[in-house]
Each structure stands twice: as structure tokens, then as C-alpha cells.
Symmetry: C2
Subunit: 764 residues, 2 copies
Amino acid sequence: MKMFKTKTTSLLIGLTLGLGAASSAYSQESLEDVMKARGLTQKDLLAAAKTYTPTGGRDEYLAFSSGGQSGHVIVYGIPSMRILKYIGVFTPEPWQGYGFDDESKAVLAQGRINGKDIVYGDTHHPAFSEKEGDYDGRYLFINDKANPRLAVIDLHDFETKQIVVNPFFKSDHGGAFVTPNTEYVMEASQYAAPYSDEFVPLEEFNSKYRGGVTYWKFDDKKGRLNPDESFTFELPPYSQDLSDAGKNASYGWGFTNSFCSERYVGGIERGRPPFEAGCSQKDTDFLHVTNWKKAAELVAAGKVKKVNDAYLITMDQAVKEGLLYLIPEPKSPHGVDVSPKGDHIIVSGKLDSHAWVYSWAKIQDAIKNQKFEAKDPYGIPIISLKDALHKQVQVGLGPLHTQYDAKECVVYTSIYVDSMVTKWDYCEGKVLDQLNIHYNIGHLLTMEGDSVSPDGKYLVSLNKLSIDRFNPVGPLHPQNHQLIDISGEKMQLLYDMPLPLGEPHYVVAIKADKLKPAVRYKSGWDSRTDKKHPYKTRAGREKVVREGNRVHVYGTVIRSHITPEIIEVEEGDEVSIHLTNLERAQDEVHGFAMYGQNVQLSIEPGKTASTTFVADKAGVYPYYCTEFCSALHLEMQGYLLVKPKGYKAKATDMQEGQQYTKADYDKQVKTNVETQAVIDSVVAFITSHNYKDFKTVVDLVTDATDQLGFAEEAKKKAEDFAAKGDYQNATLWAGQWWQYQVKTADLGLRAKTFLEENGAKKIK
Amino acid sequence: MKMFKTKTTSLLIGLTLGLGAASSAYSQESLEDVMKARGLTQKDLLAAAKTYTPTGGRDEYLAFSSGGQSGHVIVYGIPSMRILKYIGVFTPEPWQGYGFDDESKAVLAQGRINGKDIVYGDTHHPAFSEKEGDYDGRYLFINDKANPRLAVIDLHDFETKQIVVNPFFKSDHGGAFVTPNTEYVMEASQYAAPYSDEFVPLEEFNSKYRGGVTYWKFDDKKGRLNPDESFTFELPPYSQDLSDAGKNASYGWGFTNSFCSERYVGGIERGRPPFEAGCSQKDTDFLHVTNWKKAAELVAAGKVKKVNDAYLITMDQAVKEGLLYLIPEPKSPHGVDVSPKGDHIIVSGKLDSHAWVYSWAKIQDAIKNQKFEAKDPYGIPIISLKDALHKQVQVGLGPLHTQYDAKECVVYTSIYVDSMVTKWDYCEGKVLDQLNIHYNIGHLLTMEGDSVSPDGKYLVSLNKLSIDRFNPVGPLHPQNHQLIDISGEKMQLLYDMPLPLGEPHYVVAIKADKLKPAVRYKSGWDSRTDKKHPYKTRAGREKVVREGNRVHVYGTVIRSHITPEIIEVEEGDEVSIHLTNLERAQDEVHGFAMYGQNVQLSIEPGKTASTTFVADKAGVYPYYCTEFCSALHLEMQGYLLVKPKGYKAKATDMQEGQQYTKADYDKQVKTNVETQAVIDSVVAFITSHNYKDFKTVVDLVTDATDQLGFAEEAKKKAEDFAAKGDYQNATLWAGQWWQYQVKTADLGLRAKTFLEENGAKKIK
């Protein structure tokens, strides 16, 4: 058994190396050499130490970033700034099988507009589900600006579960924002448009184009948005932008800002000044204040009418019921950010140099006393600035978005034109620190900075231009997220992180230990509906069911074969292949791709995934596993044979490429017996140590035991054929028996190495 | 002009801060504190110093990785291990507009199979173009395993330019591999299938299913593969796998390995042992040796016949002409890797523990002397192992792929089952070092390790399982690429890098300074055909051309408006919108998305990109720029108005939302005059310094000068309207004048900061 002898040798070599290395290679001197060679300063080294995460290390926070035009959500670790996953949301993504398997196609189909599949989204603002204003780590919501849609991602498995289309809007930007117990998810429109699908000329912009903000009801038990209990505030055509939900003091209210309250319509091609000129002419735009709690009561009481089959609170009704107010805000603002206590609201305008701090107490007083400076053209009461403002603070040119620190009164504002972050005190109204970034920061985020209890610690600057920060990769540049240490008095730049796909707009970060993602599904699970899959099957129960020209294949995948390996259908059949991954081991994903049919599945342990297509052309279609799952992964293959209609098979046997004899069988058995001896020695090593104290090893042992069970089954088949003198089949099954032994050895050796590397102790 | 006062304040604060920080925050003590708090060892710190890349720093190598099932190519830097770009190749990707703009749709359409759009690929093996066996940094080739296709990426702009479909195969794995002067790109089939599109029963596998290797001719002048001069070797149904082209000593030859030379056909569902058992039963498979140079001569001489409209060298012809030989190789191998001098070839089998080193001199002798041990069932001469072998070296369990070091005779082999990398000497046949990886390594790469002059330095281990290496993100795990320092005698693990999208199979790395990517296109450029775009236009020449129900919009984009801002069409019109980006500044990309129409363009500086759709439903369709390009990016918007057929407009004027007076105009002009004074002071600062020594600043000044020119134009319009007493338009154009000033200021301030941060000197 030469193949296992090596391992002993290599382990010995490995041990020797480990001992030798510690004493010499990592000395202080060589550190200085490296710093000199790479031009690193002491400051760089400190930043490196604050971000570098050794093998197997964990990040303290997970950031969930919009993926911009990619239509995805991006997950990365802080402080290592390593990207862990792109989650397909609005755009098909084959690695995940998203938009390729039948189950996720059904999710994407929920997002159709005017009956059309929409195959991308422009994701902007993610938001976590909350409990009492704190992130609970259960769900993430994200919007699509280009088409007014919201998606729900379950953080149990990091999969998109639902897409809803706004019943009124033609675009949205200011979503998603979540109320403190995830009662509702806010989605505001952006570019005003008619609520109907019909053509309305721009000449009627003021009277017939509308904005709005939708409060989507979240069904906590189902983990889905419920359109039937959701409602929308009709708003003037003011280009509503971002929102934030009130919390604590301001619980029950929502805030939505706007730009272009000039209601300007461009037309540069016909000699009119462009939108950019007409939409930035007034000194102020309007902050919209909406009372969602009272609105929800009206809806529940049946007092709100339905339009487009959804509840719409008209401006008239909102004004009459005291649900809607306006407050002047600096022109062309972006973020509106409610303080952790809910008592202050910060807004800043991209063409101003001030952040404006509003007092919720003052706003409440104005509302209580019905003290308004005017009404807007649509009859909405306007609270005067002086009756709402706490302070205006000069923070820099082009302030954009503000995030809160763990320290009371401390906030960070992104400064777009000045390309910097300003740290300031919003209670006292004074600037504390400023840091240059590279370049033109849009949003920023602090750790759990949107919640009622921000953590401070780190800040990420979401820069809109990277220009010269990275090695050039052509005219289309990556974005640049800069990690900044905010734990001390002064901000320290730690890391530049390129974003390789999509332009993130906003990111939210959660303490990593709040997330409890699964590593497997219950066997036979439809991950998109979170139910048992109707076409699941088990090992040994695989079958092909045909009804007329409709064919259902109930199949399985496991290291290293797909069952069935040959599928025969007729030209014109509509074929569904449903594959259940029989694995239980973490990370033992199998894929499934087929020639010429756009078939690509990602089948994680336990999952059942399906593909449906019409076998419209007779021919031979190889298929195979697309995840490198095991040593014989390339051999995890099969053929779909599409026969011409009415094809009559000739009665010929399979031509065997190779013939095996008793000598071949005996040789294979000898190898297997020797292999078993090595496995036994590995098992002896593991069981003579306290392996049960190591979860990783316990999982490996469970998996190895499974594989060894399969080896036993193959052994029995081999022996049965040998007893009948069929050495062809006996040899091949003995080969299969050995394949399972190799898989067992792979796991056993990994477990043994783990125990050795992690100081397992010998038990008596 | 309050908005510019802040800058002065903030700059002063910034300078003060910078000085304060240097003396205290980055002391040795705090480094130790950080290490203690984060549990870092000295070894970790050294690894951090070897990988950490400070802001603006450059990576020494750029790695180009297959993106597996994602269908993309992934670009990352070494040693920082930061991902710089995902390049869309076989899968539509909206951030890049890939598969969304008309130009790239045409590229994807080249990859249709049986008339069907194939919307993903399973990318496996990238390869750089070469000159004299060295990477020349001009092109990258990548294959699709699921559908037998190859793509060409131009490294001038990192865009996919061409996709070709193999005329014979139904899958490929072993591509792309490049001959030393990029004469040809090799693509080998994987799963045997009939060459025709017709159904052939598996009972005729041995006689009618075939493998093969295609040599795609590369047209160096056009930068495209030329199917008309390409040819394919017909090969037995042995599941051909990876290839490598001979070089130096073995120039003119190609090597292709295989598995399942048993020609076994599975069928576990019908009681047959699975493929994995039958395909791994023999001790050896076959290395195929092909003479492409002589084959090319035969093709040129008209001696090769066409099948499926492509040159096919049949096995009979290949044998007769002495173009094709077989050599036994360890069973189920993966990599076949030719040494830099071309004198040795290393193959290892995943079920063996040895790497096998072949001697090209011995192989040549055997061919010269026509010394063969046998012929295979298809008549191909087999060179005996002893007549070809240099050494068999025990390297570990499950060796997979070998890469070369800069040091003579030194190689690194990935060891799948043992989860380690073995460094060994292939001349002497001895193991030098071994390092555990996490977990189950597939391919590995050294810097320029495929070329005639490998650089050594770093090695990346492409691990197929990450399991517990990172924060959990659900059942589907990222992959793990581990960076290893190989500059010393012993290998040192430096970094674990998660791959967030797709499972890379192979990666190639090139010295970064060999790449010279562009940052802009010539104005009005079609980047996919590399020609002037037929629908390009210039500023002021925008137009809409209608022929019947076919509408072409010749538009432009620039900070911060799209021209035209309003597009009117009729229901049923087929509309093409062609947008030219007028920017010259690096990273000034504009996007273009539209509600409900699956429109998403990425328009880099100079590029013209087009979208074509049928306006099939009357209504209002907002569109906007999807790249955060400037402070008023949100205002970069417009409307497509689709009118019902035969709609008659009522003669109504635009309802203006806001009226402006002389007072408004005067106020705006006052602001602008003050702003100009600030701009002048910034200009004075810049021009009083040696700014011409800083390319970044020169670029910024060029751009700022452009913007100021636009400001002048708007100023003139404002003054003209004011002269006519039209203060509505005068005020708005004065606002536009100010918008250009803001853009100028943005650039000027960035230039000023850059000069201050980079030690510019005052000139007299």
C-alpha cells in the first residue's frame, strides 16, 4: 500500500519543519527587512496588525453591502476586509444556481414588471431586521432602484427568498429602512411618475406625477413581506430620497428626505437647462415626516382605500389625519439619520457645507401646537426650520451621510466634495477630527451604526472613485472602501479594499456572533420556500417518472456520482431533473451542469434543486458535477440521451472498454485490505485522543463513518459478484469499495492533522 | 460663499492633526497591544507585513483566475490578495453592462449552441498570450467546460472580445493552453461524445464517441482566434483532460493527458458500478503527445480534410503522419506540466502518491527509433513507460498539479488528499519541504510559473474546501486561496483569501508591470469590435433619428446630465439609445438604467454603448445614471415617454414648479462670482507649485480646465437670457454655471490635497 506510506513520511517532515521554523525565520530582524523591502512605515505595520487575520481567524463584524448595478449583495468581514460572498438577489448568478434552478427562478419571477423578466437590479440600501431597534441577525432587506423592488434575504442560509414589486412607483432609491421591531420596511420612490402604468405627458408633472413612501408589512413568522397589509403614503413629485425610521423617542414615525422639490423638468436637448441646474436652484428641499403607527391603525380600521390593489393614503387623507408634515432641509441632501435615542435627526445637503441637526422634541411641539409656517402646493403643513432645528454645523464641502458612534453625541459625516470624513459632536456642534479619503466618499458606516446601540470601533468609507489607488485594470475601475479605526480620539486609516464587481452604495455591519448560519439543510429541502421539496428523494429510491412527454427525474448526488448516470428521453420531452444532495458534511456542495441546455445547479448538503428544460433536439448531452468535491470529482459525470421521436433501439450490449479477471479482482481486494489497515491505524490514532473535544474532528469522524458504511455496501456487492464468478462486476465494485476507502482516508487524515495541529491529548 | 470657507478650516484642522498623530499613536507599545488584543504571533505579524499594502500601493503580480461556475474571470493582486475585478466572459454581468449593451450581446451571441443563447459558462483554465514562451501581457484566454467554448479577453481594457464554439466537442476541460508564440490555443475535450449533433447510443461508445484536442489559430494582428485556420486532432474516447504546450526543447509539440482510458460507461441506476469505479480501475491512463507544428504544415498544404466545416486530423492520418503518440501515465491525473526548458514533463495521478517525471529527450528517441511497446485499440503507437520516464517521486497522497520555481529543478506539487503542498527537486527526485493547507488543494500557481522563466517568490494554493476557515456564510462556502511565500528554503503560509463568487480552478499570475491597461477609449469607441462606433456622437450633435418605427437616439453623457433628457417614442417603436461618454478623466464612468426595460449600460470615458428594445407598452419610464459620478449624480436623470399609438398632444406649456426673478438671478451670480474667487485661489496654489511633476495632478488640472470651459458656456447662456429679461432661464443657467464650478472645485481641491500630501514644492 505505497499510497499511504507517504503520509507518514510527510507528517514526520512536517513536524520537523514546524520545530525548525519557529526559532529562526520569524525574527524581528526579518520583519525590519520586509518593511524596508516593501516600503512600509511603522504606521503601516500597525494598520497591518489591526487588519491581518491569520488562517482560520474570524472577523469581528460582517458587512452587508449593496452591490449596485450587479444586482447582488456583497458580504465582507471587518477588519480583514475580505469578501466572503456575493449573494444573488436581482441578477441571475450561476455559481449559486440563482436564476438557473427552478426554485430560485420562481423567486426572480416574483419581480417581473409588466410581465417581463427583469434580469438585474441596481441595489442601493441594505437594512437588517431589528428587534427593539437592535439588529437581530435574522434577515436582510435590499432595494432595486432601477425597478422599484425590495428583496428579502434570510441570514440563516444567505439566500434570497422573496422579491416584491412596488405597486405605485417607477423607481425607488430610499429603501430599505426598517422600523425598530421590523414591523415595516420603508421604501421611498425616487423619480416622480404617474401611479398608473399609462402615459401621462410631462406637462402634467405637477398634477399627475407623484412620489411616495411605502411601508411594507413584514410577517415575522413567515419571514416574508406581506403586500396585503402594506400601505403607501402618496407624496408630491419631490424626488423622495433616503429614509430612516424613528426609534425610542421618535418610535412610530418615519423620515424621508427629497431633492428637486423645485419639481423641475429638464430637457437640455430642447434648450431647457438640464435637471441638474433646475433641481438645485432652491436653497432648501423638504424632509417628510410620516406617522406610520397611526397610519397602520387607519389601515387596520378599514379607513384606507385601495388603489392598484394596494392601500394608498392620499395626501388629503394624510393631512386630514395628521400623518404627514414637511420641514425645510439643506438642498440636495442624501442621508437622513436618526440618533440612537431617536431624539435627533441629522440631514446634510451635498451642495452645502453644513450638517443640520433637528430636534425631535421641537418637531413634536410644533406638531402638537399645530405651528406651521405654511402649506406646500399640495396642502401639506410645513414646520419652519427654526421650530425644528437644533444646530447647523460646518462639517465640510458636500456632506452626505452621517453615522453614529458608541460615544454619546459623536457622529461621522461623509464629505463628498472635500473627499474626507468629519468626526463631530452633534450635541455641542463642534468638529472633532477630519481625515482625507481617496476619493469622493458617498455613504459611510460605523459598526451597527444604524441601531439603537452603535458599537463604534470601525468606520468604512464608501468611496465613489478609486482612480489611482490600485493596480490599473482598464477603464472600468473597482470601487474603494477604506477601513478607518475610530476607537481612539483621532481617526486612523487602516486599509484600502477594492470592490471588484458592482458599485456599492450603502453597507450595514453586524457583530458576527449575532449570525447563526446553517451549514446544511434538512434532507430534501427546497431552500427558497423553506419547505420539504415535493421532488426530494433518498439514496436507493432514485427514479424516473414519465407522464406523456413530461419526465421527472428523482435523482441524488454524493461523492462521487450522480444517480442516475444515464437519462434517456425522447426529443420534445419536457424534462425536470431534481437532485438531492445526500451529503451531511459541511462544504460538501455538488453542482450540476449540462451541455447546451443552460443547466447549472448548486446543491448544498441536504438541498433538493431542480432544472426544467425541453429536450428539443435529439443528441448526446454530457452532464457533470461542477464543484470539485472529491478526488474523483471529474468522474462524477453522466449522459442525457435525447432520442429521435420513435427511435427503436437495436438489441446490442454495452461494449466494455476493459475486461477484468479474477487476478484483477484479487489485486484490488489486496489493495483494499491494506488500505483498511491504514484507515484502522488512523482511526486508532483519533480514538486514542480527546477528539470529542474538537467539533471539527467530530464532524469529520461522522462523515468518515458514513463513507466507511458506503465502502461496506460496495464490498458486499463485490463479494456477491465474486461468489457468482462475475469478476467484471466484482472487480469494479471492489474498485468502488476502494473509492469509498479513499474518501474515508481523506477525512481521517484531515482529522489526524487537525488533532496534531491543535494540541489534542492522548487519553488512557 | 460659506461653502468654500469650510475647506480652509478643514485643511487647517487636517494639517494640525497630521502632525499630532505621528508622534504618539503608532508607537511600538501600541503594536504589541494590538497583537495581544488580536491574538497575533510574531509569525502572523511577519505575514501581515509581507501582504499588507498601504493606500495607493501596488501589487507586484496580478493573478487571473477562472471563476468556475460564475462564468467570469477574477483578477486579484499578489501579495495583497485583494480582488480587483470580475470580468464577465460567459455570463451576463450588468455592472459592466456585459450582456446588456448591444455590443457585448453580440460577443455573447458568438457563443450560441444549437441556436440557443447560453447564459453561463464553467470557466476552468486561463492562459496568457506568450512571446517566446514568456507572458507578453496582451491577451488572456479562458475555456468553458460545460459548453466547449473559448473566450479571448484583451488586457488593454480587460474586456471579453470573442467567444468561439468548438465544432466537434460536447465539453472541454483542458483549455486554454498557449503555444510559445501564441501561434495556437489548445482546447481538449473532456467527456467523449459523437462529433455530430445526432443521437448515438452509448452501446456504440467505443466506436462512435470521440475525444480530441483542438489547436485554435490566433491571429495576432486582429487579436482574435481564427476558426478557419484552426484544426482538431481526433482522439479516442479517453476523457482527455489538461494540456500543456511544449517549449524550447519540445517546441512544436503538445501534451494532453486523460482519465478513464478504460472507456467505462457507468449506469449505477441500472445496477452497473458508477463511473468513478470503472474509470479508475486501470493503473495507468494515457498521455497524448501531438505534433502541432507538422500538423499545421499539413493543414497549410491542403492535406487535411474538413468535417463540420473545420479541419479534422483523423487518428489514421495522425498515426500515418507521425503526429500522435501515447505514453502511460499515472491513473486519473490532472496537470501535465512542461518544464521551462521544455526538457521534462511532470504528470501526477490523483489516486497515486507519486509524481512522474518524463524526459523529452527519451520520448524523442523513442519516436525517432519508432520504439513502441504496443498500439492502443485505435492504432496509436504507445511509447513504453521505461522509454519515457526520468523519475517517479513520492510526493504525497493525491498529487494533482505542478508548478515551476525560478530555481532550476525545483517544483511545487499540490497534494489533494493529504491537503498539502510538496516542494521537491525533479532532477534529483527528492522532497525538499511540505506545508499543510486548508483544505484539499486542487491547482496551485507560482509567479509566471507556466512560462519559460518562472519568477518563484509566491505560490497560491487553490483549495477546494474552506470549511472552517472563515466566518460562516451559509451552506455554500467561499473557496480559499492560500498565499505562500516560497522565496526562502522553507515555505511560509502568508494569507487566507476567500473567493466570494464562483469556484476557481486554475489561476495564472503575471508581473504587474507587463500590463499597460488603458484608462479611456478614443471618443466614440465600440470597445467590443475595437472600432469607431457607427452611432457615436459629440457634444452638441446629439439627435434622434426616426425611420418608420425604428428610432435611433444619438446621445451623450457627462457630469451631470444625459442628453437627451426626454425621449419621446410611440408604442411599438424599436428604440436604440446610443450613448457616448464625453469624459476624458480617469474613472469618470457613467451608467444608464431604465425602469422595466432591462437596460443597464456601463459607459467608460470615450466609450459608446447602445441598448435596443421594443417600447411595447405606453407609459413613463424614468432613466438615470447608475454610477455615482458627481455631487449631482442623482439629478442625472431623464424620462422615456412611450405614447399610445396615434396620441395627439394637447397644446399645453410645461407647468414650472418654481418661478425665478431678477433677485434670484442676481443672488446666483453673486454666489458664482464668489465661487470663482475661491477657484482662482486654488488655481493659484496649484500653479505656484511644481504640479507638472505629478501626473495625477496634471490629469486633474486637465479635467478641471474642461469643467471651467463648460462653466463659461453656461455663464454665457445665463447672461444672454438675463439680457433679454428672461430671468427664469437666466437663473437656471446661472445655476448650471455654478454646477460646473462645483465640479471644478472638486477637482481643484483634490489636486491641492494631492500636492500637499505628496510634498510638492513651491516654484518661483
